[in-house]
Symmetry: C2
Subunit: 382 residues, 2 copies
């Protein structure tokens, strides 16, 4: 098959869906690879690097005209570009990438209408067999790492304890809220740099994991039953729960130099956990990094992709941290994607085996229909 690799167009997106090293495997499997000119430039991969591996470097039209087109940000993921992009796809074409199907389900309607067979990797089931394709995890790991670095880079102190001839500097204190994949990496990175780290998560099961990477787990004394979905993600709670959570968290937050928030609930607005009042109770010079910003943010004062100063407290709300380490983010993403393609393309043909939950869960549109049950629900389709 002819597999296209699109140049990303979303603002600030520096990743690429396929890196040169992954061209080999696809060609060995009998595929032709067409890479849009400049697709890998921002991630450090030149056109020549793809060509050296036997890929064809082509135009946007060449890539969008392939049998299967690979994206980091597939139609839906960047709302501003979605309509135009879908207009350039043809019936029967297959697209694979992050498509934000739960955040922007209307793109699915347009994709179905265009007759496109689209896959959204956010919908991968959390089963062992899908781990090697799990782009949410691979990208979240990098986001957590980078959140810690940004916080450390912005703080008015250093993180490690340091003993000098002029006395001893105590270590900085960091709190990570949400101990999922991103949170655990944020904990590990803050710890590595030298901070004293604590962590909080509504899922009691997260305590052991957070402790294993160096954090003290904060017990707010709240009941945590039902905090986790069967899939291992945090589930949504009622407003009363969040209010009590905020009251208890406030005292912990006030004592921190750094707060990193990572609490997301798939397909919903992120819960507000750090209120304006809590921010104002922090010491001047302290830093909040809110990586749930793309989902509305865990901090009430977050402004997506901006850095705001609240009485000396810096609130940073990056929406796309993986794109700031594009070489490694693309490398993991490309590996995830090629693992997915191995399952999807059998004997040179796209095989829609809907008895396989990996295919069934990620297939958003096909044959003119919106297929994914969760997206159909959001669109009010029976």
């Amino acid at each position: 098959m002819r597999i296209g690799v699109a140049r990303e167009t979303a603002p600030g997106e520096q990743r690429v869906a396929l890196i040169p090293q992954e061209v080999d495997g696809l060609r060995k499997a009998g595929h032709e690879v067409v890479v849009e000119s400049g697709a890998g430039a921002a991630a450090g991969f030149a056109d020549t690097a793809y060509a050296d591996r036997g890929a064809v470097v082509g135009s946007t039209a060449d890539v969008l005209g392939a049998d299967v087109t690979l994206f980091v940000r597939a139609p839906g993921s960047d709302p501003a570009a979605t309509d135009e992009l879908i207009g350039r796809l043809r019936p029967g074409q297959v697209t694979v990438g992050l498509a934000d199907p739960l955040g922007a389900p209307s793109a699915a309607t347009a994709l179905a209408k265009a007759g496109v067979t689209s896959f959204a990797l956010e919908l991968l089931p959390r089963i062992t067999r899908a781990q090697a394709m799990d782009v949410l995890s691979s990208q979240a790991t990098l986001a957590g790492y980078k959140a810690a670095l940004i916080a450390a880079g912005r703080l008015n102190k250093i993180l490690p304890m340091m003993t000098t001839a002029a006395g001893t500097l105590p270590p900085a204190r960091a709190l990570v809220i949400g101990a999922g994949v991103a949170g655990l990496q944020a904990i590990a990175t803050c710890k590595r740099i030298g901070a004293v780290v604590s962590a909080y998560d509504v899922r009691a099961a997260a305590a052991e994991q957070a402790e294993s990477v160096g954090a003290t787990f904060v017990d707010l004394g709240l009941e945590t039953e039902g905090a986790e979905t069967a899939g291992g993600y945090a589930s949504a709670r009622d407003e009363d729960f969040y209010r009590r959570q905020r009251e208890a968290l406030g005292k912990v937050v006030a004592a921190q130099d750094i707060v990193i928030t990572t609490a997301q609930v798939q397909g919903m607005r992120a819960p507000v956990l750090v209120t304006a009042e809590m921010v104002r109770a922090m010491a001047p010079g302290s830093v909040i990094v809110d990586i749930a910003a793309a989902q509305g943010g865990n901090c009430e004062l977050s402004i997506a992709d901006e850095e705001v100063d609240i009485g000396g407290v810096t609130v940073i709300a990056p929406t796309n941290l993986p794109a700031t380490v594009p070489a490694h983010a693309s490398r993991l993403y490309a590996k995830n994607l090629t693992n997915f393609l191995k399952l999807l393309i059998v004997d040179g043909e796209v095989r829609l085996d809907l008895s396989d939950p990996i295919i069934a869960d990620t297939l958003v549109t096909h044959g003119g229909e919106v297929m994914a049950p969760r997206v159909r629900d959001l669109l009010g389709l029976a």
Copy 2:
């Protein structure tokens, strides 16, 4: 005595010469402390915090009219403000701070003419008794830490090796050039975050120190005799030495993701160690942080306080990294300074004991004369 604490005026300077915790000791020693309103704000110390410790919060005139006025950047250190500042000082007044006496010796002429007794902490002798006052070391430690964080934050990769379901990311490679106080801390911090670190210094004695904090020492096969002054600083070398050094270094540099340069020679332009050619041989996405920028830089392409892109390689040349961690930088600086004052002020009087090398070496001007021999040399005074 009446001790004044100036509000810093140099662009980007966020430190303050005295923090509230150090007011206690000065008051116990019988001194009155006058802090210029807003002096500690950028470092996270409010006027009220000083007042709570018994300091008087006053105007610029109050502070400049004190018996001894404390600065981070004393007259000379910020050329643009030096003349105006000296114009506001009175004969017999004592100033203490960083004054860049070897970089900007002309300020000494003006200070002498104004009858000011000025001390430059850069000139502290490297003796055991002076370690607790050594502002160059305390600030360089922070600069080295921050250089590593900036490099890690800008690189298109993560530093640590990471094993994920989508494969293993190899660790990033960092080279630190100049293994003095700043360099050693840059090594330690890169290592902590997870890089594979190597180090280079002209002083063979630096190898063991660099290795003790986790670096592999790079041997360029150059003769290193005479590379170190009696005071333990790197000494200047001839151009032929630097040329051979550059040739050998080029190969090492090309293999790095991160290069941090810290090579400075007191009172001279920093040697150019990383040439334009070397930068162009690095992979796109890699990063150079040149913290010798205030002395002209170790990288040929450095532009002070700017970030330049050379074919995908980012060259960052910050001139005042300690000011970016102002809370801790001020804390160490203030402790250094109060240790110096304990020696300088005895029984409520400034005692110019020129038999003490700490006093003799740091005294730049007194009684209308330029005193410091090295500054006199630079000014062509007999």
